[in-house]
């Protein structure tokens, strides 16, 4: 369980997050929606430790992590970035990236770099067509956008985190690749009962996959919906959708 008590983040003279008080229960799957500039990414940055809260406290299972930096929160909190370049090492192969991601929370040694390759994931990799010798030996930069995010998802969950955060993971993907990634991710998250936060601009997606939906506006969580509310919610209750009629 993560509890935020009156947490604010100020960057320069601007208060981006304003006195946020909320709780993420174990096993929650919360979708966060909100307009551009609402502070969604800063909210993730504050949770991951990339930005330290200016005021307030953050408790992870009762332990105060308010002042822990990103590096020290990494063993508990994993994050999939919207930008695939931040999720892996472009110049290293798929196999090397997988081995590298298994260094998390472990002592780094002078063993061969592939020593910690997660061989137990072979079946998972085969399921998403990343398990062939040819692909394993392909540099990450040569994968398609969809393959890169799929690999990044597997890498981010090799060591099951206490909180998993996905920041618009499908923003740069075509609809088919986005569907493949989300199908795989949701199944994995449900099977492992992983506490998850997901940012999206797609209200349909939020209504489809989110067990809870939080709306972040102007640096504050203004509405919290749970599964019972879904039947009464429409896209326009969240952040609306593209008005195609206005284009013609």
């Amino acid at each position: 369980m993560i509890h935020f008590n009156n947490v604010s983040v100020t960057i320069g003279n601007k208060q981006i997050l304003k006195n946020i008080t909320c709780t993420i229960e174990n096993g929650d799957f919360i979708v966060i929606v909100g307009p551009n500039g609402a502070g969604k990414s800063t909210f993730f940055d504050m949770i991951s430790g990339k930005r330290i809260a200016t005021s307030g406290t953050i408790l992870l299972d009762g332990i105060d992590i308010t002042h822990l930096n990103e590096q020290h929160r990494a063993p508990y909190i994993s994050r999939l970035f919207q930008n695939p370049q931040l999720n892996g090492v472009a110049g290293m192969t798929v196999a090397q990236n997988l081995a590298l991601s298994n260094y998390k929370g472990k002592t780094v040694t002078l063993h061969n770099g592939m020593h910690k390759f997660p061989a137990h994931l072979t079946a998972e990799l085969d399921k998403v067509n990343l398990g062939s010798d040819k692909l394993l030996n392909t540099p990450m930069k040569d994968l398609s956008g969809g393959q890169r995010q799929m690999l990044a998802f597997i890498m981010a969950t090799i060591m099951p985190p206490r909180l998993f955060m996905l920041d618009e993971p499908t923003a740069a993907l075509d609809p088919q690749s986005a569907t493949n990634l989300l199908q795989f991710a949701i199944k994995f998250i449900n099977e492992h009962k992983m506490t998850t936060l997901l940012i999206t601009h797609d209200p349909e997606l939020a209504l489809t996959i989110g067990r809870k939906i939080w709306i972040l506006e102007n640096g504050q969580i203004t509405k919290q919906f749970d599964t019972r509310d879904h039947a009464h919610l429409s896209a326009s209750d969240l952040i609306g959708h593209i008005d195609y009629k206005a284009l013609v």
Binding site: Q71, H72, G88, L100, S101, K104, L110
Partner: protein, 284 residues
Amino acid sequence: MLFEWLILQGIIERGLIFSVSVMSIYLTSRIIRFDDLSVEGSFGLGGALTALLLSYNISWIIALPIATIGGAIAGLATGLLHTQLKLNNLISGIVVTTALFSINLKIAGSNMMLGNKSTLFSLLGDANALKLIVLLPLIGGLLLLMKWFLNTECGYLLNAVGDNPQMLTNLGKNPQLYTIAALMLGNALTALCGALFVQYVGYFSIWSSVGLLIIALAGLILSETVSQGFGINLLIGAIAYQAIIAATFEFNVDPEWNKLITALLIIIMIALKKHSSFFTQRQS
């Protein structure tokens, strides 16, 4: 015939010695992507410490590691300036190199002859004997050691820090620590190169280190015509550079033009590289 062999031998020997600084530049410029100017000072520091220690009749077996550690400390200074004071890459290196110029002068003066002091190359007894016999296993072993290291888990993290420092943070590792470690290793290698060079030529000169970075960079760019990886190509690049400089002597070019020739060589190689990649992209 003998004269030609001696020229060739000199080219290979110098090339092998400078290949150590090419390894250093590969580590900083290509792996952690940090253009480290402090190597100029580290090369001089390695040479100055070696000259001083040998002048006190201290064995080269002790002088070599001390010179190498001196370089590592210079790399530590550059790394701390960059990571703690947030100086940019180039300024951190320039500050350290500038400081080291005075330090090196205080250690060994502007010139220091080794005279008949015992050096690594004294192992051969006859000064004219093939220094290659000492250099080949030493440099070959160093290359293999570095290649092994870059393939270890630590080496993987060095590769990652240059490509995507966020990845290290994602793994709960400190990217700054690995940047500093790579700079220490890079400068240790350059200082070792300086220590070997002083023993090879038999004297220390404060001016030897001027342009070292560009010499190493020229070797690296030449090596990349063979392969982009870390391997024997680095030795080939360093030797090819020495061969080009030696060729200018053959054509009776005034040695004062050496630095200009090196700079032009780098410009030409980079232009060719850009042209060829443009050609490849157009083809694909």
